[in-house]
């Protein structure tokens, strides 16, 4: 059974196509995160699911009901807006109960439900206040509360944490994850922040230029990025990509040459020869080694206490970065070399697709 199903969904604004051929099934109770750089179409896709934007072509199903022509008010989908969109003249209780009042629910049921939601979201003390009289974090919780009120089939969240300061963002992120577990509601969450995506999602949908770049669990995307876009988008600092070539191979063993460098790396696999590959290695998988194949000169370092980021110009002319645990004494201008074990190699074709 699926909660939502998107089949060959397209969206154009005039001549400009912003969503291309999206296919996606979302299971009941799943927490799906749409992530991507700004302009990738993630908010548009969310608004199409909500019914706030028309679907140019394709099919949209809510459970087993075709829904692409269904008006937004009849889709039984709730949404939390980035701006919270609380009704300024209503109290918090009225805001939360608003969808129920529109549904002509009896007064006692509305009150009970509002109380219940307020206690989940720790808002009981503020129910008589108006949105203008509470803090940003509280407003955020009211917006979530209003979305929960109707027990909707799906809750959409459009960058809900981006108006909060860093500490509150972290707190609300943890609270959201808890809330999702507690309510087992189907949620679709849009963000440009890959940390939010990694920490909240059951499944991440990475969008790029209106297309799905990859769908998978957070760790799938981290360990097996399908292309260079995903490889660079997930992980911080982003994955190093070195130009590489494969000219020869023995059965069960392939030699990878880093272009511009005399060093080679070996993998115990058969890979077709190719001159324009990219070898990806995550900063955290680079280990300093005197005989390391990846050589360069340190251009700057960032000491975070728990980690040190070492930025260096590699022999391949790429800016690269290594992430080392703890505090290190490496200084700008030093020559440095790194190794990485071969299970952490990511090889990409000239077109950017993963090949190993």
């Amino acid at each position: 059974m699926t909660a939502l199903s998107l089949k060959n969904i397209n969206k154009s604004f005039g001549e400009i196509q912003v969503i291309r051929d999206i296919n996606l099934d979302i299971k009941p109770g799943e927490f799906v995160v749409f992530v991507g750089p700004s302009g990738c179409g993630k908010s548009t896709l969310l608004r199409m699911i909500a019914g706030l934007e028309e679907i140019s072509s394709g099919e949209f199903w809510i459970q087993d009901r075709r829904a692409d022509q269904l008006p937004a008010s009849e889709r039984d989908i709730a949404m939390v807006f980035q701006s919270y969109a609380l009704y300024p003249h209503m109290t918090l209780a009225e805001n939360i109960g608003f969808p129920l009042r529109l549904g002509n629910q009896p007064k006692e049921i509305i009150e009970k439900k509002v109380q219940e939601i307020a206690s989940i979201l720790r808002l009981e003390k503020f129910l008589d206040r108006k949105p203008g009289q509470i803090s940003g974090g509280q407003r955020q919780r009211v917006a979530i509360g209003r979305a929960l009120a109707r027990d909707p089939k799906v809750i959409l969240l459009d960058e809900p944490l981006s108006n909060l300061d860093a500490a509150l963002r972290l707190e609300m992120r943890i609270e959201l994850a808890k809330l999702h577990k507690q309510l087992e509601a189907t949620m679709i969450y849009v963000t440009h922040d890959q940390v939010e995506a990694m920490t909240l999602a059951d499944r991440i949908v990475i969008l790029n230029n209106g297309e799905i770049a990859q769908v998978g669990s957070p760790l799938d995307l981290y360990t097996k990025p399908a292309n260079t876009f995903v490889a660079e988008f997930i992980g911080s600092p982003k994955m190093n990509l070195f130009p590489a070539s494969i000219t020869e191979g023995h059965p069960g063993e392939t030699k990878i040459n880093l272009i511009g460098s005399s060093s080679n790396l070996m993998v115990n696999k058969d890979i077709e020869p190719n001159n324009e590959l990219h070898l990806g290695i995550r900063p955290e998988h680079m280990t300093p080694s005197d005989e390391g194949a990846i050589k360069g000169i340190v251009t700057s370092t960032e000491q975070l206490g728990s980690d040190t980021y070492i930025y260096f110009d590699s022999e391949t002319k790429e800016q690269a970065v290594a992430r080392l645990n703890g505090i290190t004494a490496i200084r700008t201008g030093e020559k440095i070399s790194f190794d990485a074990s071969q299970e952490h190699y990511h090889l990409f074709s000239p077109g950017g697709d993963r090949i190993n």
């Binding site: 709730a78 807006f81 300024p88 003249h89």
Partner: protein, 295 residues
């Protein structure tokens, strides 16, 4: 450099303006109050200081013509202001939609407002003209009416016709104020209400109405104060006629003081009008203050 205490500087800077205001507002006002207790007549200077006490006021309040003019004014105010509000809000809602030519229409909206009242009045007098007027031509040519009407010559119609001219000129003010308020409503709020299950009517009442009620009520009171003082449009279109059917309080004051030259009793009428205006203005200030508190 000499440094005065702040309060002294303030008084020094205010003095020129205060002198002018006292000269052109304060002195005439005091003089008007004084005249209202006298039998002053423009044509006979000897009457200027003849003290009559409250006689002018008592006469004013017993004068059926004056009371009729209050009634006419109330009619005019309620008809024109309510129509201006309704039409203004509806037009603003329309102009807040996205469609081709919206910018042009918004610009056109300013035109009636930019027209001097007297020009507007003359234009409508031409439109209503009993012999060559456009309204007669239109209504007979489309077959709604068999023969030409004297729109401003009919005591039952004249006040309504003047009100129409006033509505045409002034609804754009309400529309502009409302449109400005509508543009402050976040699109998210409308969309949130849609997703909460609100239909168009419920969206209007829960999102749009609360956002425009304050500015619209300010427009309402401002227009009421203006309409209550109506004079120029009446002067140009009907001179208070026919049969006093369009005589408003301001026009009555003008007639008493300047046409009949009875300055003393004219002043008492004027002060009664001022008193009514003061109540309206106090309402306006109260509304503004209330808005300041909730914003």
């Amino acid at each position: 450099m000499v440094r005065f205490p702040k309060a002294t500087t303030a008084w020094l800077l205010l003095t020129p303006m205060m002198t002018i205001i006292i000269g052109v507002v304060g002195y005439p006002l005091i003089k008007t109050v004084y005249y209202s207790f006298t039998a002053a007549h423009l044509a006979s200077p000897a009457t200027t200081d003849r003290w009559v006490g409250f006689k002018n006021y008592l006469k004013a309040l017993g004068n059926t013509k004056f009371l009729d003019s209050i009634e006419n004014t109330a009619y005019f105010v309620s008809v024109s202001v309510s129509a201006e509000i309704v039409i203004g809000v509806l037009v603003a809602l329309l102009l807040n939609q996205t469609f081709k030519g919206r910018t042009l229409l918004r610009a056109l909206l300013i035109l009636p407002l930019a027209l001097p009242t007297v020009v507007n009045a003359m234009m409508w007098r031409l439109i209503y003209g009993p012999d060559f007027g456009a309204l007669n031509a239109l209504l007979t040519q489309i077959g709604l009416m068999a023969e030409y009407q004297s729109w401003l010559g009919d005591p039952d119609l004249a006040l309504w016709m003047v009100a129409v001219a006033d509505i045409w000129k002034n609804f754009p003010l309400v529309a502009l104020i409302t449109l400005a308020a509508l543009q402050t409503i976040s699109k998210d709020l409308i969309e949130a209400a849609t997703l909460d299950g609100a239909n168009a009517w419920q969206r209007f009442w829960t999102v749009v109405f609360p956002a425009i009620i304050a500015p619209v009520s300010v427009a309402l009171v401002l227009r009421t104060i203006e309409a209550f003082k109506v004079f120029d449009i009446i002067y140009v279109m009907t001179r208070g006629g026919p049969a006093n059917s369009t005589k408003t309080v301001s026009f009555h004051v003008y007639q008493e003081a300047f046409a009949y030259m009875r300055i003393g009793s004219g002043a008492s009428y004027a002060l009664i009008v001022v008193l009514i205006s003061a109540v309206l203005i106090a309402t306006y200030l109260w509304l503004i203050k209330k808005q300041g508190n909730t914003a």
